[in-house]
């Protein structure tokens, strides 16, 4: 048989044709393709705000002076704090924080202004609800910034209004995300998380469904070869993945103004490796799950470490070492670096070849294992 005829008569085509018809009639898959990306994008894009602004703050001002009011003003100017009211006593302060009305409180003692006037260091206190470490870290740097700014002003006034140049000016330049918006960090990750959940979920439930309904048994007694069976099933899902990616990137740049700096071709190519790795996980789940419900549970269970340990929301550098090691077992960890690298930094293979290699290795190993397990007839 000529190669051309062999390709034309490959049993891959009827399988592909069948999968597309089924997909077209399946509302759930269509919804997963379009609605899910939009919902995820809006949810994560808006809800995850790691940049802390406008912490509600109360002030216990025992100094009641010009100086104390200026300190309060300087604190508010940082944008980290928003003064929501004054409290008369230390008890009132505690209850404001305990009730959650305020996350921070500024305490200015009675001798604040007199100490400044006498030229001795004046003391004030900033109490923070550090139960949320992200808020307290922001409050810490905000308070330091405010104290420093006001200190420079006071010194300058003492010197008769001469502007003071600080001896060291350490300028921080936030590259790739100059406005430091968390959406810029999160949205590329939404693509990776979305592909992980959809690919594993669609694949595992679709294969388990064929087994539950007895069509898999029927397929196995036909002369269809295993590569055609598997590829015919998986290729349509790959397409679903690319549609999702396009939806997220389109909406992401429209709504969140996410920059797309690097090569989309390179991203499309490397995404294929990630999709295959995720399809492999889905297949693997399908060989363990007995029912569609089990397949779904396992897929969601696989989702958890992906969200927590891949660096999607929390920086991996901040994690304890064991958590970092587990993260290295997830294809998403590497795909996230590729996504952010290409979309935000515009870097190419020169910097991404290692991550790409790992991703391809994941795809090959996962698919090989799952195909082996899958082909062991129906026993």
């Amino acid at each position: 048989m000529s190669p051309w005829r062999r390709l034309r008569e490959s049993r891959f085509w009827p399988m592909l044709w069948k999968e597309f018809i089924q997909m077209r009639r399946d509302r759930l898959t269509l919804g997963m393709m379009t609605v899910l990306p939009a919902v995820q994008l809006l949810l994560f894009g808006y809800a995850i705000q790691t940049d802390v602004r406008h912490l509600p703050t109360v002030v216990l001002d025992e100094s009641r002076s010009v100086e104390s009011r200026r300190l309060t003003q300087t604190l508010e100017n940082t944008d980290v704090f928003t003064v929501v009211g004054e409290v008369p006593t230390a008890e009132a302060l505690r209850s404001a924080i305990e009730s959650g009305r305020a996350n921070a409180a500024l305490v200015i003692p009675p001798d604040y202004e007199t100490r400044i006037a006498r030229g001795v260091p004046a003391r004030a206190q900033l109490v923070v609800d550090a139960a949320d470490p992200q808020s307290s870290a922001a409050a810490l740097s905000g308070a330091q910034l405010a104290a420093q700014a006001r200190g420079v002003e006071i010194t300058s006034e003492r010197l008769g209004g001469v502007p003071i140049e600080p001896p060291i000016d350490l300028a921080v330049r936030p590259w790739y995300n100059p406005a430091q918006r968390s959406a810029v960090f999160i949205v590329p990750g939404v693509i990776g998380v979305l592909l992980t959940i959809t690919m594993t979920l669609i694949t595992s439930t679709a294969v388990v469904r064929e087994r539950e309904r007895g069509t898999l048994e029927q397929l196995i007694v036909t002369p269809i070869d295993k590569p055609s069976l598997m590829l015919g099933k998986l290729v349509p899902f790959m397409l679903v993945g690319y549609v999702q990616m396009a939806v997220v990137m389109g909406l992401g740049s429209l709504i969140f103004d996410i920059p797309i700096v690097g090569s989309l071709w390179l991203l499309t190519l490397l995404t294929a490796a990630f999709i295959f790795a995720s399809l492999g996980v889905g297949l693997l789940i399908s060989t363990v799950a007995r029912t569609q419900a089990q397949a779904m549970q396992l897929s969601f269970f696989f989702m958890l470490p992906n969200i927590l340990l891949s660096g999607y929301i929390f920086p991996r550098a901040a994690m304890p070492e064991p958590a970092q090691w587990i993260g290295l077992l997830l294809p998403l960890t590497f795909f996230l670096r590729i996504l952010r690298g290409i979309l935000l930094k515009g870097i190419g293979m020169a910097h991404l070849w290692q991550d790409s290699l790992v991703l391809v290795a994941f795809a090959v190993v996962l698919l090989a294992i799952s195909v082996r397990r899958f082909t062991k007839t129906i026993e």
Partner: protein, 270 residues
């Protein structure tokens, strides 16, 4: 099969050759020796010696769990036997499953239809998977579907068909490639009497064209329509022969009486 020829005519020539020229050694469609299947501690099939002749309508009877489905699955190459050998349409099941798959049709207890595809799409899918293409496929499907009475239902979604029609469609899907041998696992379970009668008419037509048929059933009237019968109980063979031979041999008035007696004897404590 050396000369290039359309798939269908090729296969028919092949079958004609086997039927006529090599009649003697190939007069056997299925031959098993000491076939055995274990699932962990459970022995589902044991010491099964079975010979089915080409063109025969062979019935397999036995209560639930007696090993009928497991036997069929081994013969179709869906499961590896734990021990023993089986040859199906001239090929060894353990090593030549691929060759067997091209020559057989299988209708499982669950029919194996896609509920979200139409009648036509189901038939077309299986025909293509069995290697039919182009105009030959279209012609064959048209003839086949109208022969089975699907003309007005071709675009109906398979999931909305009644039990009897589902069964007919499953049969259509399993026979479009004109298999040499057909395995039918409880094909008429849950189907009304009229549909059952029509189904058996089709079975006889297929047998008349030379197709070997292995069918399992719980219905005694269907058992009596078979040319030969095998009784299974708890995984092993407890009787085999034509319906007449069997009633005579066991000195019972009907097949049903034989069946009940044999089963009772087999299950009695020793």
């Amino acid at each position: 099969m050396s000369e290039p020829a359309p798939a269908g005519s090729d296969r028919e020539a092949d079958r004609a050759m086997h039927g006529a020229t090599h009649g003697a050694p190939n007069g056997v469609a299925v031959e098993t020796r000491g076939l055995r299947k274990e699932f962990g501690a459970l022995v589902a099939v044991q010491g099964l010696d079975l010979t089915i002749r080409r063109g025969e309508v062979f019935g397999m009877l036995g209560p639930n769990g007696s090993g009928k489905t497991t036997t069929i699955r081994m013969l179709c190459g869906l499961m590896q036997p734990t021990a023993g050998t089986a040859r199906v349409v001239g090929h060894e099941v353990t090593t030549e499953a691929e060759a067997i798959r091209r020559k057989i049709g299988y209708m499982s207890q669950r029919y194996g239809l896609y509920d979200d595809l139409t009648v036509e799409e189901n038939a077309r899918f299986y025909a293509t998977v069995y290697g039919l293409h182009g105009r030959e496929r279209t012609a064959r499907l048209d003839a086949h579907l109208s022969e089975l009475g699907f003309d007005s239902r071709r675009r109906q979604i398979a999931g909305t068909l009644s039990g009897g029609w589902k069964q007919r469609l499953a049969l259509a899907c399993a026979t479009a490639h004109r298999p040499e041998m057909l395995f039918l696992d409880e094909p008429t379970a849950g189907v009304d009497p009229a549909a059952r009668r029509r189904f058996w008419e089709t079975i006889y037509e297929l047998a008349g064209r030379g197709t070997t048929i292995l069918v399992t059933t719980h219905y005694m009237d269907e058992a009596e329509r078979c040319q030969r019968l095998a009784f299974l109980s708890r995984g092993h063979l407890i009787g085999i022969g034509t319906p007449a031979e069997i009633t005579r041999q066991f000195n019972e008035p009907t097949i049903e009486d034989v069946f009940i007696t044999l089963q009772r004897k087999d299950e009695a404590p020793v």
